[in-house]
């Protein structure tokens, strides 16, 4: 029997959050953490979490498993369980709505700030804006982000300044459009980022790289943004 300790909080009935211990029969199989959550929910329907695709594509079930953020649906027990114990908590740093569900407003506000859409005022061609294979390659490792928030909520700089620091997820997207050969708003984008908080709160500790379930590297993207700001200003 797997010993699971799960964070519970229902603001309508609980004065404060508490950890609930549950025993789960995994049948000796190496299940995904999401399967364990489903088994717990089949015993106690009040346990609340977000989920959708159950295959690491939608980014809904980002949670903290034994201290490390990740997607419950693609994290096998063998990867996270130590001494037969699994501790499940909501993503750190964001307000908890209920149990493992967090309020992602601050995360989305920062995402919105980087204007994550292609900007180009020249008349659109009849079919599509063309891009060379080399230019397209520059977007690899940037466009794959699914906005699960595992990176930003593992970043201490984002914990302390979620209102002023864009955070790794937002900055990865900022660079995705700065690097896009079809986007013409580079100067405006850089001007908006050139302050002591938006980009420069990153101290390069790479928690984001460590937890990204898609294997992306926001720290490297932030380095590229910093270099762009540097060459623009010197």
């Amino acid at each position: 029997m797997l010993q699971v300790s799960i964070y519970r909080y229902n603001p309508e009935t609980d004065a404060e959050p508490y950890m609930q211990d549950v025993q789960v029969d995994t049948g000796g199989k190496d299940l995904m953490v999401l399967d364990v959550l489903e088994l717990i929910k089949s015993q106690d329907t009040s346990v609340t979490y977000r989920r959708s695709c159950r295959e690491g594509v939608c980014g809904s079930d980002g949670i903290n498993m034994n201290g490390k953020n990740g997607l419950a649906c693609i994290t096998p027990l063998s990867e996270t369980v130590r001494n037969n114990k699994l501790v499940l908590r909501p993503l750190p740093g964001l307000p908890v709505v209920r149990d493992l569900v967090v309020d992602m407003s601050m995360f989305y506000t920062q995402y919105e700030k980087v204007q994550p859409y292609l900007q180009n005022d020249s008349p659109a061609p009849a079919i599509e804006r063309l891009q060379s294979p080399e230019d397209r390659e520059k977007l690899d490792g940037l466009y794959e982000c699914i906005l699960c928030a595992c990176c930003s909520t593992s970043c201490p700089s984002f914990w302390w300044n979620p209102d002023r620091f864009i955070g790794p997820a937002g900055l990865l997207q900022a660079y995705r459009f700065l690097a896009d050969s079809r986007d013409t708003a580079t100067e405006e984008r850089l001007a908006k980022l050139d302050d002591p908080f938006s980009v420069f709160r990153c101290h390069g500790i790479q928690n984001c790289v460590n937890v990204c379930p898609k294997g992306l590297n926001p720290t490297r993207a932030i380095g590229h943004i910093r270099n762009m700001l540097l060459s623009r200003a010197t």
């Binding site: 302050d195 908080f197 938006s198 980009v199 420069f200 200003a233």
Partner: protein, 120 residues
């Protein structure tokens, strides 16, 4: 764009660059002084070293770098932990007081350092 009037250069890029430049200067000074000390010094040779203008300039440069470096670093720490978001208005008062205190300490060190370098 987030505004900040208490950071050193009021630009993240400038602060970031100064942090790196000052770190290199301090590292060079630290390595130099360590080498001198390991080579063996007595009062006379130490005094002779520090009586030369280039050494005084190098020392003052290292001292100023320390001031700048500490200002940028402490500013980042204060704006992480002493904030309105975490403590309400108290956070702003505490942060401003902490920044003022650290600025005074650094200013004192720099003036005191100049006095030591050129005073003996």
């Amino acid at each position: 764009m987030v505004t900040a009037i208490t950071s050193m250069g009021r630009s993240g890029l400038y602060d970031w660059m100064m942090q790196r430049v000052s770190a290199v200067i301090m590292l060079a000074y630290f390595i130099f002084v360590t080498c001198v000390l390991l080579g063996g010094v007595d009062y006379a040779s130490w005094k002779e070293l520090y009586s030369q203008t280039w050494m005084r300039i190098f020392s003052l440069l290292a001292l100023l770098s320390m001031g700048l470096h500490a200002w940028v670093g402490l500013w980042a720490v204060f704006t992480d932990y002493l904030t309105e978001r975490l403590m309400g208005t108290t956070g702003n008062v505490l942060r401003f007081a902490a920044q003022l205190a650290s600025a005074l300490v650094m200013f004192t060190y720099v003036v005191w350092g100049i006095q030591i370098l050129w005073g003996y």
